[in-house]
């Protein structure tokens, strides 16, 4: 049986309450919208790039605890990383929450983001956790169409 405390861990609840980088950037290089039409979650993500490196990042929007905490921890994780490194983390994160990557046994670059592994037990919430990562993927790719989880 899925364990509720696996999903709502203290770190996640803390990021939900006090999201990091919850701000608008003054000189963003990229602004990217993402939304989950099923539940109305919405994120506006901004990146300031220095060459290939994410120099600063900010997000705004509304969503459930999982989506907000995921956004907050995503911004903390990608700051200072290269676009290529972000790409790898996004791919690994999405695989992890879908249950396609076990962060304890398989090589990965997720670090603290591993606490979202419990989301795989809650299929209805996978999209909530993945939204911010889908959005940052789109932001650093060539296409800047708004991201939808549907």
């Amino acid at each position: 049986m899925a364990d509720l405390s696996e999903l709502y861990q203290q770190v996640i609840l803390d990021h939900n309450k006090k999201p990091r980088n919850f701000k608008a950037l003054e000189t963003p290089s990229i602004t990217q919208e993402g939304h989950n039409p099923l539940c109305g979650d919405h994120i506006t993500l901004q990146l300031e790039l220095d060459g290939e490196v994410v120099k600063d990042v900010g997000f705004q929007g509304s969503g459930c605890a999982i989506s907000k905490a995921s956004s907050s921890m995503m911004t903390a994780a990608v700051k200072g990383k290269s676009k290529a490194e972000v790409e790898v983390m996004a791919d690994e994160f999405v695989k992890m929450v879908r249950g396609e990557l076990d962060p304890d046994t398989e090589e990965n670059h997720l670090g603290r983001l591993k606490i979202f592994a419990g989301v795989k037990e809650f299929p209805a919430r996978v999209k909530c956790a993945a939204l911010s990562w889908r959005t940052v993927q789109a932001a650093i790719s060539e296409s800047h169409d708004a991201v939808s989880t549907e």
């Binding site: 509720l4 999903l7 709502y8 609840l13 099923l38 109305g40």
Partner: protein
């Protein structure tokens, strides 16, 4: 309405009719409080559908053989049950559809495209489900008509004086729900119809949420159209009913062409069939119609008045118990309400509420309830919604209250 005490209504007996209710979810007894989304099916409806396929399966309205006659008789028998349920004047006024959405689209595309012209107006309300907004927006785009919206107050009640102001010589149609799916408000539809009829404007009532809870007499109500869904009245999905006054249906062109809706087809000209078949192109959802007929018989055996009285008791109990929990805010506090409780807990997102309740075996809806304008009116992205049926119990509402306390604990 006559009030009835819970002791006269035997909920344990009713629950025994619904096999799905005995299961556990996440190790807890299922507490199903998502009845506004869909209702469960009593064994008699399941058996009826089963029996149709096991013993009577055949196509309808065309075969001279034994099974086809049986199937036709059963489906037409179901139409007759619906006719009596609604107190329609004739079987010709009862059209099988896919559901409420399908019925509203039929009226918009048939009546609307024929009779509503550029610059003319259609009135809906701020409480509508998307199914009673989008078909009219599509029609407005097609013919150049204008959509007008009756506003609501902070309790989620229609502002009737604003409705009266909206009615004008350009108004050509009014379409409102009887009961709001998002808030549970019961609208004064009789008065809405009277006011529209005073200006010769026809009215469609979206009955998706009223059919399971309220006895509706379409002739007493004098609505021109009434649409509802089978799956919300303990019947199958994919079947619904559009009631329409015969003189209106006769003037309306079919929306879909095909088999069953014709009398004679040549490559030069096709003569359409009589009512109601004119609007039922193709092989119908036969077992759906038969299952719906059985579901209505079942509801009638329980008694619509008993159902309404018991559900009202559940609503009052839940409103007091859940509304009394510190941090809970009820959205939708109309004086006249059906058994829907939309709520928020502090600033906790309804999706998180839904997940935690699900762990306790409690099924509710979390989201915008396909009524985004209602959410916008209350300035919230979504709500948690518990909706009660006559097979729910006060003990289940106690379980909901306990689980809400768990939600508050988790989020501190």
């Amino acid at each position: 309405m006559q009030t009835q005490t819970a002791s006269e209504f035997d909920v344990a007996k009713v629950r025994a009719d619904f096999p799905i209710l005995t299961q556990t979810v996440n190790g807890k007894p299922l507490v199903y409080l998502d009845n506004a989304a869909t209702s469960h099916k009593p064994q008699c409806v399941i058996d009826t559908i089963n029996h149709f396929y096991a013993a009577h399966n055949s196509n309808v309205h065309r075969g001279v053989h034994y099974l086809s006659q049986l199937a036709t008789r059963e489906l037409e028998g179901a139409r007759d049950i619906v006719k009596k349920f609604l107190n329609a004047a004739s079987d010709k006024e009862v059209i099988f559809t896919k559901g409420t959405t399908d019925g509203i689209n039929l009226v918009a595309q048939s009546y609307g495209r024929k009779f509503i012209k550029e610059g003319e107006e259609i009135i809906i309300s701020a409480l509508e489900h998307h199914a009673n907004i989008v078909p009219w927006q599509m029609l407005c785009e097609q013919v150049g008509a204008v959509l007008r919206v009756i506003p609501i107050n902070d309790d989620g009640e229609l502002l009737m004086e604003e409705y009266e102001k909206l009615l004008n010589p350009k108004t050509k149609f009014v379409s409102v729900n009887y009961v709001s799916n998002a808030l549970g408000t019961i609208n004064p539809v009789k008065r809405i119809i009277e006011l529209a009829h005073a200006q010769d404007v026809p009215v469609l009532i979206d009955g998706a949420q009223s059919a399971p809870h309220l006895k509706v007499d379409v002739r007493e109500l004098d609505c021109d159209f009434y649409a509802f869904s089978g799956h919300k009245v303990c019947g199958p999905t994919g079947i619904g009913i559009l009631y329409g006054k015969q003189h209106l249906l006769e003037q309306m062109p079919p929306v879909q062409g095909g088999g069953d809706m014709i009398k004679v087809v040549t490559f030069e000209k096709t003569t359409y069939n009589d009512l109601p078949y004119k609007f039922e192109a193709g092989t119908p959802h036969i077992e759906g119609g038969i299952g719906l007929g059985r579901a209505i018989q079942y509801l009638e055996s329980v008694g619509l008045d008993n159902i309404a009285a018991y559900e009202h008791e559940l609503l009052e109990y839940a409103t007091e118990l859940i509304g009394g929990i510190p941090g809970v805010r009820i959205i939708g506090t109309a004086k006249d309400k059906a058994s829907v409780l939309s709520f928020l807990i502090n600033d906790i997102h309804p999706h998180d509420i839904g997940t935690i309740l699900d762990q306790e075996g409690i099924a509710i809806r979390a989201g915008h309830h396909c009524a985004q304008p209602v959410m916008q009116r209350f300035n919230v992205p979504s709500t948690a919604r518990a909706s009660f049926a006559f097979y729910n119990t006060k003990e289940e509402i106690d379980a909901l209250a306990n689980a809400i306390h768990t939600v508050i604990e988790v989020f501190g």
